[in-house]
Symmetry: C2
Amino acid sequence: MKSSRQPSLLDQHCDYLKHIFRLQQAQSPVSTSALAESLKVAPSTVTDTLKKLSQKGLINYTPYHGITLTPKGEKLAVKAIRRHRIVERFLTDMLGFEWHEAHEEALRFETQLSDEVERRLFVALNRPKVCPHGYPIPSKVEDVRVEETTLYSLEPGERAEVISVKDDEPELLQFMASLGIKPGVKIKVVAKDPFKGPLQAVVGRNRRTVGWHLANSIHVRKLD
Amino acid sequence: MKSSRQPSLLDQHCDYLKHIFRLQQAQSPVSTSALAESLKVAPSTVTDTLKKLSQKGLINYTPYHGITLTPKGEKLAVKAIRRHRIVERFLTDMLGFEWHEAHEEALRFETQLSDEVERRLFVALNRPKVCPHGYPIPSKVEDVRVEETTLYSLEPGERAEVISVKDDEPELLQFMASLGIKPGVKIKVVAKDPFKGPLQAVVGRNRRTVGWHLANSIHVRKLD
DNA sequence: ATTATAATTTCGGCATTCCGAATTTTCAAG
DNA sequence: CTTGAAAATTCGGAATGCCGAAATTATAAT
């Protein structure tokens, strides 16, 4: 396939940058296998693409030693993240999709949009600050900060406000919605079992018991 | 490249069907060279793809003798046309694009949209009947009829309403807009030179002189 | 009917994106 | 140190989309 339209940056490359950026927050440098798993392609494929990205000056790539985004790559990654979150907002706010559908729908076509469409979408949406899952819609690298604290890190008795929830597991999102958990909601932890056991909390008016995985997918800010 | 997402139909194939459908209205069967020019690819490329489309039962293809859409191919073509026009409406109505930009912007990402997004877009737009250029948004094959009469076919003294304008030349569209020509506008022909010469007409309050090509890009319905 | 020319197809080739198997490198355990 | 397992890379190969040049077929003019 000829690339045509986009002179400088292929869709695929944006995808790689987005994933590298995300993985980099957990661990830097990012390993080939981590990227491969995240992108759901074979490691050998990742190695191939890494060379191209490196040649374009988007990543620092030392064979066998992982990768880091260059400033240029970081900027493009942020641009891709911004676009993704704007499109998610479009899908929920203007088309009425549920938040658990928005993420995957957005992935389908976001890379094809022109900058102009993105700009106009942003304006038409009234310049939103966050995506449907509560993550900021960034203008620059510093904007992409996520709340470090997760619900599971709280101790019994503590109260917190939900800031954002992980968006990459649709079913989990749907389940969270059914529990009334979404950005802005306030939660009080009642009890927490040891060994990554279930956590009991009051969400709005209801008492809920949630597992470790779910509670760790919720970013919160402590209250009081 | 692996196709992934779309199980049954590749983007490229939709594109072919759309072009074949359009060309078929002017002349059937459609020739390889006409398709190649329309798609801006080499004739040999078209031949390659034609075989695949034929195998999928979307076209009737007899080597050296042109192509026709099968009922199945026709349905898909109409689906693609419908989607294109809905997206154009989205771009003009919800994002404020000019009509001469809408066509090309739509081409960038329309093929990536899911059926569900298309459906919701249509509803959010209030179920429009026509695209920004005045062509119908079809549900089935019969809906895709265009007004046969063009402005140039009128004789001096005749009046007509603009129904639709050809959408594939952005500059021409922009120029038409500057002349006040758009669907719904009423035009009275004042004079017409022989040999495809210029045509004089009254558009709204203004007297305009337009060339053959432009006048033939305007579909009208006679008044009185 | 024959023949020239125009349209179409065939063929080989290039680029891209992906993969699995084989190889190389790293790194930590002995 | 050595060495063995895990991680990463290289290599060969498959599929796709595209092209230009060469061969084939159709068709319109003689």
